[in-house]
Amino acid sequence: MTARVELVGVRKIFNEGQPNAFRAIDGVDLSLPAGGVTVLAGPSGSGKTTLLTLIGCLARPTEGRVRLDGRDISGLPEPFLAALRRQTFGFVFQRFNLIRGLTVLENVMLPAYPLGTPHRALTRRAGALLQRLGVGHRAGAPVESLSGGEAQRTAIARALINDPTVLIADEPTANLDTALSLAFLEIVSGLRAEGRTLLLSSHDPLVREASVVDRVAELRDGRLVADRDTLAESAQ
């Protein structure tokens, strides 16, 4: 279930070689232990989201290596990256990125379509996940009708449908009030207990200081400026 992610000298430059080139990540070395909760903190524009997309195989680094359990995944061909996105990494986007016009259940099942899982089994699994996350009653509703909290839970269920070892969430509490943010942290706690590796980006103090968080890595201008083991700190 657990997976170890390492970043070695990772750089990401957008529009490289053009006048509007922008260095979003500038030489980050980071090691995420398997089976813990790490928060990437930092102000807007510090490169948190870009780093998440590089780890989650949504983009490739311009330089450096991303390793998963010691294996370099940054240079893999597209079909292998797609397989990793499908089965190893679950990604919860800041704006959830649910597909409008489809129901909650259909959105949750989407990542499993390429696997050809039998329909009945897949529906049952998606339904169970939605129940577990407290949105089972909304399974047949179109996603446009969901509240922020419901949309987030739907996005989490979609990220978990293929049982990934790493769950990545980008600014998960940005659109939630305090009660919903705490409810989200409850979910994170449950997933951590299952042994999954969780990586969150957030500048929300509620998340950074949550007891479930093992580690906070602080980014600024694309560089890692602090790396704090909160678990060790609280043990001291």
């Binding site: 997309t53 989650g56 949504l58 983009a59 490739r60 597209e78 079909p79 797609a82 397989a83 996105r85 499908r86 089965q87 990604f91 986007f93 990125n97 597909i99 409008r100 016009g101 489809l102 259909e106 989407l110 990542p111 379509y113 390429p114 696997l115 050809g116 899982t117 039998p118 329909h119 979609r158 990220a159 293929n162």
Partner: protein, 380 residues
């Protein structure tokens, strides 16, 4: 689960998703489908109609003489003396030599041309006529009625209608007026021993060209016309008429091509975002291409099926009211007939390739471009 079952299940999911995706963009897809169906309908109608007309003409010409010999005077068709027929009888390979009498008569009452003809068996009683169905309709004439024509000398020649030709042969017989030889000669002032042309039957088709050469040698003032040449002329005429219909349509075709290209190839921000999301949740480039292939395939196949079915019904069910005036001919007496369905599979395949494949390509190329890009970049 076997790999095959997994693949089938995967394709079913993709197809389900495609259908759901199409119904989400219902207005856009319905609009596109309507225009697409209209275009296929027009193209297929012209194709079916010209193909059926050629087929019909081919059937008619199958019974036509193998060679028709006309006499030419100063480059124009002139009456041919019966002695010419005698000279032709001696040519090896010629089985039947027959003088024919036919011509046109303009009827000011309905402002139409009739084709007057003496049947080979000359089995029409003098004073009577057998007429084509369109002619009967135009004149409101039935069996037993009398139709009178003014002859070349100004006298009135009455003909009692003995029979009306069957509807099945309407394309060729619509404006026919069959009369006895004596009546024909009297009406047009053609003396005995003169014919319009001479028909030859050649049992061996391979000898037709040689016989034609010998005809020219024996009668230097004649012009032999082979049946194959007539068939080619028909084909050329119907092709020309098809072009006549397609020419004004070419603007519409171009407009459709631009619309289809624009609609199919230009991915909206929403579509790009959707592709990005699907890739981000683990769909492969191939899955997205399959999904879009299903989408383009469904739309273009539906358009092709609806368009060709509507064209089939229009041409063979309704006798092509939209095309008949242009495609059928110059005669005022448009034959009222139903064409026998005759569809050229190669032409249908060409139509399929011309309408479905470009659309699929127009759909897939931009999707492929978006699908091979990193999901993060597509969503940005």
């Amino acid at each position: 689960m076997t790999e095959l079952r997994r693949t089938l299940a995967r394709q079913r999911y993709l197809l389900d998703y495609t259908v759901a995706s199409m119904s989400r963009r219902r207005t856009r897809n319905l609009g596109l489908l309507l225009v697409y169906v209209g275009m296929v309908f027009l193209l297929a109608s012209v194709l079916f109609y010209s193909s059926a007309l050629k087929h019909e003409a081919g059937l008619l010409l199958a019974e036509a003489p193998d060679i028709v010999v006309q006499r030419m005077v100063a480059g124009r068709h002139a009456l041919i003396p019966a002695q010419h027929a005698e000279s032709l009888r001696g040519i090896r390979g010629v089985r039947v030599v027959e003088g024919r009498l036919w011509g046109y008569h303009y009827d000011p009452a309905v402002r139409a041309n009739y084709t007057l003809l003496v049947p080979p068996a000359d089995d029409v009683e003098p004073g009577t006529a057998v007429i084509g169905p369109a002619l009967a309709r135009a004149r409101g004439a039935g069996i037993g009625d009398v139709l009178s024509f003014r002859g070349q000398d100004g006298t009135l020649h009455p003909f009692r209608i003995a029979a009306i030709l069957p509807q099945e042969s309407a394309l060729a017989s619509a404006d026919l007026f069959l009369v006895a030889e004596s009546d024909f000669r009297a009406l047009f002032g053609i003396p005995e021993g003169q014919y319009t042309d001479i028909a030859l039957q050649i049992p061996n088709p391979r000898e037709e060209r040689t016989v034609a050469e010998k005809v020219l040698e024996a009668l230097p003032d004649s012009r032999p016309i082979l049946r194959a040449e007539m068939l080619r002329t028909y084909d050329a005429v119907f092709d020309w008429r098809s072009a006549l219909v397609l020419l004004p349509l070419s603007g519409a075709l171009l407009a459709f091509a631009i619309l289809a290209w624009e609609k199919a190839s230009g991915l909206s921000a929403d579509e790009r975002r959707e592709i990005g999301i699907l890739k981000a949740v683990g769909w492969e480039t191939g899955d997205i291409l399959s999904m879009k292939f299903w989408e383009g395939g469904l739309l273009s196949l539906l358009a092709f099926l609806f368009g060709t079915a509507a064209a089939y019904w229009h041409v063979f069910g309704l006798s092509a009211p939209l095309l008949a005036p242009v495609m059928q001919g110059w005669s005022v007496l448009y034959p009222d007939f139903r064409l026998t369905p005759a569809i050229d599979a190669t032409q249908l395949l060409a139509l399929f390739c011309l309408t479905v494949l470009p659309y699929l390509a127009a759909t897939l190329v931009p999707v492929w471009r978006a699908a091979v890009t990193d999901p993060d970049e597509v969503m940005r």
